[in-house]
Symmetry: C2
Subunit: 352 residues, 2 copies
C-alpha cells in the first residue's frame, strides 16, 4: 500500500478526513499515521490502537493495494489448539483438525490455530477475532458451564461445535458422536460374544460426555437382557494408576476370578481406562478376551497396540458436517447432528 | 469497505485509474468490479482473478476500511497439516503444532493450518501464500529431494524447518533433534544395564532420519565396546506385522533364546518397530526387559502403555527455536540447531 500523496488527499471532497486530521485526532505525527497504515508491525501497540481508533472515528479511507485486496478473499475460522492431552491435541482432535484442514479448500476457507489463555477461557477467542484473521470459530472440548458459546452468541460471532453445546443445544450448531449409542453397541457386542456380567469403568459423575457413555451402558444391559446391576460400576479420573486400581475393585465386585472364563467383561469410557482394566485383568492372572472381555473408547494407537476392542468415532464425517453447518447461509436455523460410532473389534473381546 | 462514489473517483488526478477503467480492462461491468472488491466470496474465481489482475496492472487504489487495516496487523505462518500418520499428525507433530501455537502470541504471530495437495507438493504452499493470510512457513517432515525448500528459496518466502533441510542444510534455517545422539544414548543405557548383544531394528536404508538413527546405533556399539557386529540389523517399513516379522528374524540371528536372560537387546528406529520387537520377544516365550531389552523412539502413548523405554524428543524446545529462527531480522545468516533428546526409561530395559 502506498501512502496517499498530499495532492490526492487535497483533491478529495472537503468533508472527507485527511491523514493530517487523523494525526491530530490521534495526537501523533503524520509519519506515525503513515507507519501505522503501512508498517503496523513497527508501531507500538497502544499507538497503533489510537491511530486505528481515529481512522475509524473520522471514517478516514486510505488507499489499498491489490495485494491487500487478495488478502480480503481469504476467509478463515479459528480453532483452539488445547494442549489438554499431555501437551497434545490427542488422537481425536488431531484427526479432527487434520480432517477440517483437508476439507477446507473445498469451501474456500482456512484454519487459524490459536492457543487458549490459561487464565481466561474466552481471551484466545477475543484476541483471535481482534486480529482480523478469522470470521468465525470451530469449537471442541465443550463442557457444562462453558462460557465460550454465550460469549460468541453475545458477540454474534458465527461458530460451530464438535461436541454438543450442552447448556444451549437448541440455540447453536453442533455435531457430535453419539457416545451413548457407542456404549450400547459395545454391550450388545459383548453379550453377543457370550459375556454375561458386564461392568462399567467410567469417569466421576458430572462430566456430560462420561455421564452419556454410562447411560449407554445401562441401556445396553437392558437391551441385551443382562442381569448385571447398574451399580456394578467404578470410577476413576483419566489416570492410568487410578484406572488400574478402580478396575481391580470392579473385577472383584463382578467376581471375575470365580466365574467361568469368558463370562465377565468391562466396558470403559476411554481407552486409557480400558488400559487400566487390561492391567487389572492381567494382575489377577487372567487373560483379556479369553477370561475377561474389555472394550475401550476412541480406538487410539494404544487400543491397536494392546489388541483392545474399542468404539471408533467417525471424525472425518464430523469435520465435514462442521464446515457445512458453519458455512450455511446466514439466517439458517440452528442445526445439530449426532453421528453413530462403530466398533473396532480386537482380541480383548474374543472369549476363549 | 465502501465503494468509491463516482464523485470521488472523478475528483482524483487524471492519471489515476478509475473503477470504470478497471471494468473495461477486465471486460466486466462496474458492478462486478465493485462486487470483486467488496464481496469477493460472491464472485466466481476466474472473474475475481481477472478483476484483481486489472486492479494491479492499472494500479487502481480503492478505499479501505479500518477493519481491513486491523487485519493488516496480523502476521501469520503457514503449517502444513499432513495426515501421514493414519489420517493424523501423529504424536510428534501434534505436540509440535501445539507448542508452536502456544508460543505464537509471544511473537505476535499466528498459525494458519493448511492441507497438502496430494498431487503437487508445493501447491498447498503456493495457494496459502496467494491467500494473503501468511508471510512465511514452518516446514516439517523434510526428506531427500524435497521440492519445498527450493521453491520457497526461489520465491524468497521466509521459512524455517523442524527437521533438517537435508539437501540444503547450509542455505536454510532449521531445528532438528539429534536422532543419532538418541540411539547412541539408548545403546549406552542398555550396555550400562548389562545387555551385551544389542541389535538394531530400523527402516529400509535411504530415509535420512532412519539412516541417521542407524549410525547412532553403530556409534553406540563402538563407544560401549560391545562386540555386536553392525550387520546384526533388520529392516521393516512402518507396519506392525512387518516389524514383528523382522524383529523375529533379528532375535533369531542374535540367538536371543540360547543366551542368558538379560544379555540380548534390540534398539529400534521407532516405537512402532519396538512394538513389533515386544511381540516377537513374547512370541518366543521371553519377557521384554527381564530376558530381552527393547528401546523405541518417540516416547509415544504406546510406549507408555507398553512400558517401553524410548527416546524422547524435546519438541517444545524445537518449536521455540523455530519461531526464533523464522522471526530473526531480515539479513540474519542461515542458522541451524540440533537438540539433544533424552531417554524415558521403563520396564522394557530392566533386566531380570
Amino acid at each position: 500500500m502506498s501512502e496517499p500523496s498530499p495532492a490526492s488527499t487535497a483533491s478529495t471532497a472537503a468533508s472527507r478526513a485527511t491523514i493530517v486530521d487523523v494525526a491530530k485526532a490521534a495526537g501523533v505525527s503524520r509519519q506515525t499515521v503513515s507507519n501505522a497504515l503501512n508498517r503496523p508491525d513497527r508501531v507500538a501497540a497502544p499507538t497503533l490502537e489510537r491511530v486505528l481508533d481515529a481512522v475509524e472515528r473520522l471514517r478516514f479511507t486510505p488507499m489499498v493495494s491489490a495485494q491487500q485486496l487478495r488478502r480480503q478473499r481469504a476467509s478463515a475460522a479459528g480453532f483452539e489448539v488445547n494442549p489438554s492431552h499431555q501437551g497434545r491435541l490427542g488422537h481425536i482432535l488431531d484427526e479432527f483438525l487434520v480432517e477440517l484442514t483437508v476439507d477446507a479448500p473445498r469451501h474456500g476457507i482456512h484454519v487459524v490455530a490459536f492457543a487458549p489463555d490459561p487464565t481466561d477461557v474466552v481471551a484466545g477467542y477475543r484476541q483471535t477475532l481482534a486480529s482480523g484473521l478469522v470470521d468465525g470459530f470451530v469449537l471442541a472440548d465443550t463442557r457444562h458451564g462453558d462460557p465460550r458459546p454465550d460469549w460468541l452468541l453475545a458477540h454474534e460471532v458465527p461458530f460451530v461445535s464438535f461436541g454438543r453445546v450442552w447448556d444451549r443445544p437448541e440455540l447453536t450448531r453442533w455435531v457430535d458422536v453419539d457416545g451413548r449409542a457407542g456404549l450400547r453397541a459395545a454391550v450388545a457386542h459383548l453379550a453377543d460374544r457370550g459375556y454375561v456380567h458386564v461392568g462399567f469403568l467410567g469417569w466421576p459423575a458430572g462430566s456430560p460426555v462420561g455421564d452419556d457413555r454410562r447411560a449407554g451402558w445401562v441401556d445396553g444391559l437392558a437391551a441385551a437382557g443382562l442381569t448385571t446391576s447398574p451399580d456394578e460400576a467404578e470410577e476413576a479420573v483419566q489416570d492410568l494408576d487410578e484406572a488400574t486400581g478402580a478396575a481391580g475393585r470392579l473385577l472383584d465386585r463382578l467376581g471375575a476370578v470365580r466365574r467361568p472364563a469368558g463370562s465377565t467383561a468391562v466396558v470403559c469410557a476411554s481407552d486409557l481406562l480400558a488400559l487400566g482394566a487390561l492391567r487389572a485383568v492381567r494382575a489377577l492372572g487372567l487373560e483379556p478376551g479369553r477370561d475377561v472381555g474389555v472394550v475401550g473408547f476412541d480406538d487410539t494407537d494404544v487400543a491397536a497396540a494392546m489388541q483392545l476392542t474399542s468404539v471408533h468415532q467417525p471424525v472425518a464425517d464430523a469435520a465435514r458436517a462442521a464446515w457445512r453447518m458453519l458455512l450455511a447461509p446466514a439466517g439458517t436455523p440452528p442445526v445439530a447432528q449426532l453421528l453413530e460410532p462403530t466398533l473396532t473389534v480386537r482380541a480383548s473381546s474374543t472369549p476363549g
